[in-house]
């Protein structure tokens, strides 16, 4: 019986990881909240009705209700870690986009560069070459 519980636990971890690691959105948020609610109810009921948990635990082949609850806690925690990681990565991506936009805007864009950015040395191919090089427009895009 214990092996059944172990298999179920591993399966639950895999399913949770699968859902947490891919996709996001309202449906996943709802699932997360339902799971959280189930966990809260389980935790609260264990305080008042420990014998139910022990019975349930025996059903699965686990000795004590407290142990069963611990397993649930571990599962929930792993789920929490996975979602936090995902959220953190998403947030990091957003911050990066913002910072990148700010950085590039502040630098004034690349087209200002040849004239403004390198006054120390005349850069032959750019200044005089630009206007006549524009109309044909063939060579640069030949690739």
């Amino acid at each position: 019986m214990l092996i059944v519980f172990q298999l179920l636990a591993v399966l639950a971890i895999a399913v949770a990881a699968f859902f947490m690691l891919r996709g996001g959105g309202a449906r996943h948020q709802a699932i997360r909240r339902i799971l959280m609610m189930v966990f809260i109810i389980a935790a609260a009921s264990s305080v008042f009705l420990p014998q139910i948990w022990t019975k349930l635990a025996n059903l699965f082949g686990v000795a004590r209700g407290a142990d069963l609850l611990l397993y649930f806690l571990v599962l929930t925690f792993l789920g929490f870690v996975a979602t936090s990681y995902r959220r953190f990565r998403a947030l990091e991506g957003q911050v990066t986009e913002l910072a990148r936009r700010i950085a590039i805007d502040r630098a004034g864009g690349p087209t200002d560069v040849p004239s403004g950015g390198s006054p120390a040395r005349p850069t032959p191919p750019i200044r005089p070459g630009d206007p006549p090089a524009d109309p044909p427009e063939g060579p640069p895009v030949e690739k």
Binding site: L21, A99, A103, I104, P110, T111, P114, G117, K143
Partner: protein, 221 residues
Amino acid sequence: MARTWVVVPMLNEATVIAQVVEEVRRAFDFVVCIDDGSTDDSVAQARSAGATVVEHPTNLGQGASLQTGFSFALADPQMTEVVTFDADGQHSVADAKAMVEELRAKNLDVVVGSRFLDDRTEIGGLRKLILKSAARYTRWTTGMALTDAHNGLRVIDRDLLAKIRLRQNRMAHASELIDQIGDLKANWAEYPTHIIYTDYSRSKGQSLLNSVNILVEMLFR
């Protein structure tokens, strides 16, 4: 007019950046340094040497710096290819120049540097082993038979660059870049490059332990 932008991600490189930029500017007119929140005067040094500097308002990581450089270069309609070049002076400008010529001559999408194609680069045994394993892993996951998956010197054509989007801000960006190149079925070639391991580049470079971080970041994207 073909125009090459050299993208140099930098973080606290004030002691060498001016020299590196000057050397690069002898061969390339357009150099952009992406400053990733340096606390020394890297920015002023790079500017004085003639580079355009794009400053991240906060430290984001080297991968993010590269992508910022790519986005910046793509905003220049005349840009035809970019060169990625490390700020610590471990690459040779002559190699970069030759790689750009190779890309144009053979009409390639990307040319990746490799320190293992000839025996110019002197490298420690453990470092070599890890880099070789990384290359083997890359070959296994992307089917690209690279000999050196973590070389900072690359030349990327504009059309390919526009399709690349680096999301790995920190260390795993080198693998991510290769992954995307593989997925896009790009025409690629390797080119033998010389890595100069100075005391400076060694002290700034990646600790070998960092390969653990790279592995974890690759597994949990």
